[in-house]
C-alpha cells in the first residue's frame, strides 16, 4: 500500500495530488517505524515530515502553480531511461541483498526493560556519544533555514506577488 502511494507520487499529473500521496507514503513509513519498535522515529516522522515538510511542499506547489496546471506532459523526454535505470537499480539491490548471507535474519526478541527513547536521548547529549553530530546537524539546520529565508525573500514584496 505504501509502495502504491509512492508510485502515485511520481506518476500522478496533479502536483497537489502528488503531495497528498507523499503524505500517505510517509504515513506508511511511520507505521513501518512503529512495527520496528522505533517509536521515537515514528513520532518524528509524523511531526516533522507529515506536519512540516508536506505543508512546505503544498505551499511551494501553490506558489508556483500557474504554469503547471494539469497541462503539458509531466514527464520529460527521457522518462523511459529513468524508468530503466530505476528498474536496474532495484534489481541490482535485490540481487546484492540475496548475495548477502544475513538477509533472512529474524529479529531478536525486543528486550522489555530497554528504554529506547531514553537511550536515544542520552546518546544525543552525552559527550562520548553523538553530541557533536547533533550540534553540527542543528547548526546546519539553522544555516539552511536562514539561507532559505534569504533566497526566497522578495525585496519588492507586495506588488510582484502575481
Amino acid at each position: 500500500m505504501t509502495l502504491f502511494a509512492a508510485l502515485r507520487v511520481v506518476t500522478t499529473g496533479n502536483l497537489v495530488h502528488a503531495a497528498l500521496w507523499l503524505i500517505a507514503t510517509l504515513f506508511g513509513i511511520a507505521v513501518t517505524f512503529a512495527i520496528l519498535n522505533a517509536s521515537f522515529l515514528a513520532v518524528v516522522q509524523v511531526v516533522v515530515y507529515i506536519g512540516a515538510i508536506s505543508i512546505l511542499f503544498i505551499f511551494a506547489v501553490m506558489l508556483t502553480r500557474k504554469e503547471m496546471r494539469d497541462r503539458g506532459p509531466q514527464m520529460n523526454r527521457n522518462w523511459w531511461f529513468g524508468a530503466l535505470l530505476a528498474a536496474i537499480t532495484f534489481v541490482g539491490l535485490v540481487l546484492l541483498l540475496y548475495g548477502w548471507n544475513g538477509v533472512s535474519k529474524t529479529a531478536s526478541v525486543y528486550p522489555s526493560d530497554f528504554d529506547a527513547v531514553g537511550a536515544l536521548g542520552n546518546a544525543l547529549i552525552s559527550p562520548d556519544a553523538y553530541v557533536l553530530p547533533f550540534e553540527v546537524a542543528s547548526v546546519l539546520l539553522v544555516a539552511a533555514l536562514i539561507g532559505a529565508v534569504y533566497v526566497a525573500f522578495n525585496p519588492r514584496s507586495g506588488d510582484s506577488s502575481k
Binding site: L3, V9, V10, A18, A19, T25, I29, T32, F33, L36, N37, A38, L41, Q45, V48, I53, L56, F57, F59, A60, V61, L63, T64, E67, P73, Q74, N76, N78, F81, G82, L85, T89, F90, L93, L97, V103, S104, K105, A107, S108, Y110, P111, F114, A116, A119, L120, A123, L124, Y130, P133, F134, A137, S138, L141, A143, A144, G147, A148, N154, S160
Partner: protein, 102 residues
C-alpha cells in the same frame, strides 16, 4: 516477525521509485518529492538494521535522526530556490532553467 529482507526490499523499491521520480519528472517540486522518497527509504533501512542488529546500540536511530535534520534542511533550501527561480523566470520546469545568470 518478518525477516530482515522484507524491509530491505521494501526500502529498495521505495528508493527506486524515488529515483524514477527524480529522473523522469519535469517539475522541480516533483523532483524534490522524489528526493524525499529516497531519503525515507534510507531511514527505513537504518531503522531495520537497528532493530535486527544489537538493539542496545542506538547508533542507527541517531543516524536516522540526523538524516531527518538534513532532509529538512535540504527541502527548505530546495523549495526556496524553486520559489526564487519561479519569481525570476516564471517557470518550474527543470528543462527550462538553463541559465546561471540573467
Amino acid at each position: 516477525m518478518v525477516p530482515l529482507s522484507w524491509y530491505l526490499i521494501f526500502a529498495a523499491a521505495l528508493f527506486s521509485i524515488g529515483l524514477f521520480g527524480v529522473l523522469a519528472r519535469r517539475n522541480a517540486v516533483a523532483i524534490l518529492l522524489g528526493v524525499e522518497l529516497m531519503l525515507n527509504s534510507v531511514n527505513v533501512n537504518l531503522a531495520a538494521f537497528w532493530r535486527y542488529g544489537d538493539v542496545t546500540n542506538i547508533a542507527g536511530q541517531v543516524f536516522a535522526i540526523i538524516v531527518f535534520a538534513v532532509a529538512a534542511a535540504e527541502v527548505s533550501v530546495g523549495l526556496a530556490l524553486v520559489i526564487s527561480i519561479y519569481r525570476q523566470r516564471n517557470t518550474v520546469i527543470a528543462d527550462d532553467i538553463d541559465m546561471l545568470k540573467f
